[in-house]
Amino acid sequence: MIPVATTFFFYFLAVLAIGSAIAVITQRNPVHAALALIVTLLALAGFYLMLYAPFVAGVQIVLYAGGIMVLFLFVIMLVNLEQNIREYQFNKQWLVGTIVALALGGLLLFVYRTGRGTFPTVFYQGYRGLEGDNTQQIGLALYGQYMLPFEIASLLLLVAIVGAVVMAKKRI
């Protein structure tokens, strides 16, 4: 199938992602903020689909939107929200926060300006074959070329899990 209306979908998803990201920090009710974050994550999944990475898009939805955010929502739902809603939305760290955000934005802009040659300007033309075996490609890359980083990441996750169990349980 020839891709249709890609520009439309790009801007639609971009507006959706940025708009809901803004809602995450402006919403007073934490549950609404968490829901806005879910919309951002889903819009990102749409971007992965547009980049012909269906597996990454699927995993994005299953793990982030469907797994991690449910746990977020769980914690938020159990805390007392009445007090939260009345609290002032800005605290004393706003100066530090602004500086860090500006620095990060500047860095991104710098990388974008200087590294223009390294980013592909035209989309990779041989994608038609890639789309079908995206999953296999990722599997081969993870268990071949990137075996060691993959194992290190798994080990870190395992350590985190063990740590969580130790902290949560009084008597092991």
């Binding site: 549950v31 609404h32 829901l35 879910i38 889903l42 269906p54 597996f55 898009a57 699927g58 995993v59 939805i61 299953v62 939107a65 469907g66 797994g67 449910v70 746990l71 929502l73 769980f74 739902m77 159990l78 789309e131 079908g132 995206n134 999953t135 296999q136």
Partner: protein
Amino acid sequence: MSIGTYILVSLVKIVLALLILLTAVAYTTLLERKVVAHIQNRWGPSRVGPFGIWQPLADGLKFIFKEDLTPPYVNKPLYMLAPIIALTTALTSIAVIPIGPWIRLGSVNTPLQITDINIGLLVILGVTSVGVYGVALAGWSSNSKYSMLGGLRASAQMISYEIALGLSLIGVLIYAGSFSLSDIVNSQAGVWFGFIPKWNIFKGQFVAFFIYIMAAYAETNRIPFDLPEAETELVAGYHTEYSSMKFAMFFMAEYANMVTVACLASILFLGGWSGPVFGPPIVQSLLPVFWFAVRVFAFMFIYIWVRGTLPRFRYDQLMAFGWKFLLPLAIANIVVTAFVVAVK
């Protein structure tokens, strides 16, 4: 195929699929009431039409005409959103489920599913994991203790069993080498010794099959895992505060999920629509759909049978069963399957 015909064919398929799914949902409720009634030595619905076959219609009408009550203390936007999320996600997953092989109608050659995408199984897992929000938000936004506890129980149960469910499918994926549901069905074609079909359940995935079935019962909040709506302690769980059509939407979502789960079980473990095909061309193209429907019906019947037979778990038993029994078993199944495939 031109874009025009493509869109037309897709629209027709979407309308047909929704019609079939919603009819199946409606008549599953009747089947459930009838079968459970006979298990308990009663008659079940018998007044509306012969054997009560118009009962679902009457129920639907009743739901529409009931007063739609919104309690004053709820969080309104989320209270409205929750049943919408639950029902749309439940209906969306039907889009990637194939109910038969490719068919030819005149010059149009099309698969018997709305769309055949190469991450079909992932889409279903993703959509059902988003469906958890419907339940969780319904519980929270209702602003009532029963709803809150029901919603928390339901979402904790769903995310716990989703892991076992997802891992039980890995064995099938290792055999098929694809996420596409039609590829998975095609990988189970053929027979051994002339009579044993090469279904995944006979290829050594029977442990995975039982893990899948048990996790699926928990995913759809059915007995023996129906703690989210344990009447004796929680009134009606997360949909206590809902009435009229909003309540019906949760109900429809639950039954649509049951149908999806039954379809997936048939596709992944029981060879999908494979079965003897004979007769004139029109019968030949419809027989696979019939064999598929037979499997799905069998699963629905077992669902109801289990409901009429088993008592409910305690919540700690449920969690222990999911995390300490199903999950290790599913991982062991992956290891064994990977080993077998590697040795081959």
